[in-house]
């Protein structure tokens, strides 16, 4: 059996990268002769969530429930996973901060290796995965010979796709006894972030990016308007946060957030590898840059060559014009 940790949004839906992880698990299962894929969720799943997971080919949804799961504790999640995984050969999650953290706990407890941010697998015996390292600047082939094989899947390594012949997933609720030591490091308070356009950066469908080309902290007005017009989030380069133009939680990249929107619109961003590490999972990229040879432009799907302070206001005006037309 393959066990996939599924993360959910505050409203209880499976996050997209978890759906991708299940899709990845299914292809692994098919290669391995059709072993079942089970999901683990924290908290009792809604009928909608169970139905979604069933549509993705999940056989059983294991729900971790009880006081131990009232607030997040990486060790408690790993302990719960251990309780339900039985003799599964693979334990995996999406390569989110939580996914990587919980899988590292699982690997440390089991005394096995762990591979973070896997893109693909090549062969089951030996089981070899390819993963992103050096912020995506290089790939590593890694042997995962232990049982269970523990890894996380990089965002957009595969496209989330429902199963061809889904069944109905059985929901099994577990209320494991969690050792006190596994609850010491738990979240004691969690506050909604200040209302800002980056709040949903990691899950936004569209992200407007801004780099040094924005020019100053005052240079963001048009970019913020575009962000609002496309109902997206703002993400910035490290130069922007280092200069104090925008807060660090908006930073995209190796040491910022990794985003995987349908469309990323980097404006005045050169596309250094550390920034690319955070946005390479975007399905499409529309670069706006004065330099036609900037790496961001040459790697993009679409580009506009020009000064963002001219291009972005013109786009905003065109959107507004069409809305009122």
């Amino acid at each position: 059996m393959i066990v996939v940790l599924v993360e959910t949004t505050p409203t209880g839906e499976a996050v997209e990268v978890s759906q991708e992880a299940i899709t990845f698990a299914r292809s692994l299962a098919a290669e391995g002769g059709g072993v079942p894929v089970d999901a683990v969720v924290v908290g009792e799943p809604s009928p909608d969530l169970a139905a979604t997971l069933a549509a993705y080919g999940v056989r059983t949804v294991h729900a971790l429930s009880g006081d131990a799961y009232a607030s997040y504790a990486g060790a408690a999640w790993a302990a719960g996973l251990k309780g339900v995984r039985g003799s599964s050969v693979v334990v995996m999650a999406a390569g989110t901060p939580r996914g990587n953290e919980v899988m590292a706990h699982v690997a440390a407890r089991e005394g096995v290796a762990m591979a973070a941010n896997v893109l693909s697998f090549s062969g089951l015996s030996p089981f070899v995965v390819t993963r992103q390292v050096v912020g995506g600047g290089a790939l590593e082939e890694m042997r995962l010979g232990d049982r269970p094989a523990v890894f996380t899947v990089a965002g957009h390594a595969v496209e989330a796709a429902p199963a061809d012949a889904p069944g109905a997933a059985e929901v099994v609720v577990h209320t494991p006894e969690i050792a006190a030591a596994d609850l010491v490091a738990r979240v004691v308070s969690s506050e909604e972030p200040e209302p800002d356009l980056s709040g949903t950066l990691k899950s936004a469908r569209v992200v407007v990016g801004a780099g040094r080309g924005a020019g100053s902290s005052e240079g963001f007005a048009d970019l913020l308007e575009l962000t609002e017009l496309v109902g997206g989030s703002l993400g910035v380069s490290r130069v922007v946060t280092s200069l104090g133009w925008r807060p660090h939680h908006e930073q995209v990249g190796q040491t910022g957030s990794r985003i995987s929107p349908d469309l990323y619109i980097p404006c005045g961003i050169s596309g250094a590898i550390q920034h690319w590490a955070g946005c390479s999972s975007a399905k499409a990229i529309l670069a706006i840059n004065t330099d036609p040879d900037a790496p961001m432009v040459t790697k993009a799907t679409y580009a506009v060559i020009g000064d963002l302070h001219e291009v972005v206001p013109a786009i905003n005006a065109e959107i507004r014009r069409r809305r009122t037309a």
Partner: protein, 250 residues
């Protein structure tokens, strides 16, 4: 009086192109230069701040070859007061090996700070493995850390908002960039750092090694970028595209 151990790694500065060594086992730094991982620069700053606030000490540790002394000196120059160098070829050490070697030193310290993940290997697990070696609680991926009355308060961004953890000492915390601004070394700081004796150690056990088969470079992406236009004149084409992709909010 909190005794902090902060763990850093010498990594290739990969701001420009990544070049691999001939045997495909590592990143070639001969032309790129070396640095410490960005998250760890912040961990060093936090270690120095916690030591100052509690009248404690900040010791920096690295596992690496002889050249890694450069990164230890960099940490000493910004306020760490002691340094431990586990002399070994870091490339032959996997995450569990590194955790074991840190554990051999960490027992004397109340708080161990590490980077959340190294800029090169991106393993996300040394801190957590270390915590299990030591039987201590671990908080992961936070950007601010403070200690008072034997309790560590650690905060950072979680999936649902700003999160706070409170754990008793001794503890392990892994740090993400963003909560503090690493300071620049002063000239006196650099001079002082040169004189600090470095506690050199040998690894306590043979490494099991990483599970690496080899490193490769990602296939070059052939540039097939579609240029939508130049300057403000491109706006209609951009909005056509946004409509076509169905991403315009109503």
């Amino acid at each position: 009086m909190v005794s902090v151990l902060v763990c850093i790694k010498r990594v290739v500065d990969s701001s420009s192109e990544v070049v691999l060594t001939e045997d495909g086992q590592g990143v070639d730094g001969r032309y790129a230069g070396f640095t410490m991982s960005a998250h760890e620069e912040c961990a060093v700053e936090l270690a120095v701040q916690i030591a100052a606030a509690t009248g404690g000490t900040a010791t920096v540790l690295t596992l690496g070859d002889a050249d890694a002394v450069e990164q230890l000196r960099a940490a000493l120059a910004v306020g760490c007061t002691a340094a431990v160098h586990v002399v070994a070829d870091a490339q032959t050490f996997g995450p569990s090996d590194v955790a074991r070697e840190i554990a051999a030193v960490a027992g004397d310290h109340d708080l161990v700070l590490l980077g959340n993940d190294a800029a090169d290997s991106g393993d996300f697990q040394v801190g957590i493995r270390l915590a299990y070696e030591l039987g201590r609680p671990v908080v992961n991926g936070v950007s601010s850390v403070s200690v008072a009355d034997g309790v560590v308060t650690a905060e950072g961004a979680g999936p649902d908002g700003h999160e706070t953890y409170r754990v008793p000492l001794p503890a392990v915390v892994t740090v993400l960039e963003g909560g503090v601004e690493p300071r620049y070394p002063t000239v006196p700081g650099r001079m002082k750092a040169k004189k600090v004796p470095i506690d050199e150690r040998r690894p306590t056990a043979e490494p099991v090694g990483p599970s690496r088969v080899r490193l490769l470079l990602p296939p070059p992406t052939a540039s097939d970028v579609q240029i939508l236009g130049k300057g403000a004149d491109a706006a209609p084409a951009v909005v056509d595209l946004l409509e076509q992709l169905g991403v315009l909010a109503r």
